[in-house]
């Protein structure tokens, strides 16, 4: 147990806590509302990317349907919001649960397929979801299953926000805390029994089977966890925007999501945070500061993807610390005393 709470864990915990405090208190003090809104999006996108960390990074299952699941989460959050009067945390949990069920159904082919075929099947599942949501439209207070009514002329009440998150800053803080809790949930899975079983499956399925791992159960468990997380993110997104249309939930976003997740680093939760920054903060920054359009970013991500595939499989999250250490060594070198001749000879 002492080893478990060793120095490394303590240091890491302290860094995470410090970053959380900066996110919660420093950022709202430094930036204006449009930035804060972007930071909220970063947090939400980070959770969606973390879903891919679970599926691909930990278990080795590729899913191209996670962004569609975000849409399912958003839809479900809105629908439940107009259907029942739940406190916001319960709304989050209920949305997560519904999305979890949908995600497990999409994940069922993973029991038989892997690699390219699983990618195709999940992408087709995403296509089906996108199509259905385009037909259903997003709920805006109407009746029936879809909860949608044709009233563009006003009278639509936006989705509720948590009681202490009605302001932009308040909602941002609420989102950060919820996302931190979701990350904690994922982390708990990684270091406990499921994480070890997933590592075994990722390494070799026959060996995992011989080790007594119920592969069906643990694969579906991974899909359930990733979908639950994505569903919670979707509910937060619904509350952030208040109302939405099928417009932002393009099928291509499923591909962009996995590309950013890989660039950020698909094997760790840090990578998920970087992916959130890459997908939401970088475009916003480039747009507002330098007027660089969205399309340039797609090219930029393409280049980044190449870089990851060629030289840095762990993405920015793993590459950056290495690069910084190298840079530090380069800077320090001229100031160091050159080793004496006797030392060199040993």
């Amino acid at each position: 147990m002492n080893r478990l709470l060793g120095r490394g864990v303590l240091v890491r915990g302290a860094v995470i806590l410090a970053l959380l405090l900066v996110a919660l208190f420093a950022l709202p003090a430094w930036f204006d509302t449009s930035w804060i809104d972007t930071f909220t999006s970063v947090a939400i996108y980070a959770v969606v990317s973390a879903g891919l960390v679970v599926l691909y990074g930990k278990v080795g299952m590729i899913s191209l349907g996670q962004f569609a699941l975000l849409a399912v989460g958003t839809w479900t959050g809105l629908r439940l919001n107009y259907l029942v009067d739940l406190p916001f945390p319960l709304l989050l949990l209920a949305t997560g649960a519904v999305t979890c069920v949908v995600g497990v159904v999409i994940g069922l082919p993973a029991l038989r397929l892997s690699g390219l075929f699983l990618a195709l099947i999940t992408l087709m599942g995403a296509g089906a979801i996108t199509l259905v949501l385009r037909t259903l439209e997003f709920p805006n207070g109407g009746g029936g299953f879809s909860g949608h009514r044709d009233s563009d002329l006003g009278g639509v009440v936006p989705m509720v926000r948590p009681s202490w998150g009605t302001s932009e800053v308040g909602f941002y803080r609420y989102t950060v805390i919820v996302c931190a809790l979701v990350f904690l949930l994922a982390l708990a899975h990684f270091v406990l029994k499921p994480g070890r079983a997933w590592a075994a499956i990722r390494e070799s399925e026959p060996a995992a089977l011989a080790a007594g791992v119920n592969i069906t159960l643990y694969k579906l468990w991974a899909f359930a966890l990733a979908s639950f997380m994505t569903g919670v993110a979707g509910c937060l997104l619904a509350s952030q925007v208040g109302q939405t249309t099928p417009q932002p939930f393009l099928l291509t976003n499923n591909l962009l999501l996995i590309a950013t997740a890989m660039i950020g680093g698909i094997f760790t939760l840090w990578g998920a945070v970087v992916a959130g920054v890459m997908a939401k903060l970088v475009p916003f920054f480039l747009q507002t500061e330098w007027g660089v359009g969205q399309y340039w970013l797609t090219i930029l991500f393409g280049v980044g993807m190449l870089q990851v595939l060629l030289t840095a499989p762990g993405g920015i999250a793993q590459q950056l610390p290495k690069d910084l250490a190298n840079l530090g060594r380069l800077i320090v070198r001229p100031f160091r005393k050159p080793p004496s001749a006797s030392e060199e000879s040993t």
């Binding site: 029994k193 079983a197 590592a199 011989a210 592969i215």
Partner: protein
Amino acid sequence: MIEVESLTVRFAGVTPIDDVTVTFPGGACGLIGPNGAGKTTFFNVLSGFVKPAAGTISAFGEDLLKMVDYRRARWGIRRTFQTEQAIETLSVYDNVAMIHEHSRAGRSSRRNDVLGAIEYVGLDRPHSPVGALNARDRRLVEVARAVVGQPRVVLLDEPAAGLPDEETEHMGGLIQGIPERFGALVILVDHDMSLVSACCRTTAVLDFGKLIASGETADVLRDEHVTRAYLGTEEVVDDQVLGAEEHVTEEPA
């Protein structure tokens, strides 16, 4: 005790195990034979990767073939693979602990059992990641994984392949100690005859999917069929197929 009765495995057009009836009485038992004899396939049947076409396997009175594949590990079947399969991303401790988590041993003894198994194989840094270990230590991790959590049957598939002599000796000591220390029946597949004869009181020999000898290791290794099978002559096969035993003895060795 494991009793195998008329076991036959067929893949499309090939019969890697052909009507084998053999008993592994207990302790450490050897299973030898030339490449392609069906040894690994036999292990695959025991661990549930391969469904046999015919035959029964009873392990300590339990009908093994009726057991769902992943439950066999819980019941007590452990195995190592020809290419070692320790999980690189986990520490030595977690590698062994994950087997314990899916075994029939209780949670309360986990820490002690896991550390005990790691100590048994002679590894001293339980918290270092397996990815950082050398080939020899990874093999030892696999053995630790195989003996933790109250195993009943431990299947070792060429555990000493590629190891230098003194390491093989260490491995031999470990294998010999498993039945007594952990109470499991060991089946050892290896091409190193000195390792097999040092560890195993009894040995069974497969050749082209058929059992050609079984019994006390010393007797088996002297058996003419066995030496022939290992020299790779074709007569043994033909004779087995024809069932002409007398014919064999007349052939020059």
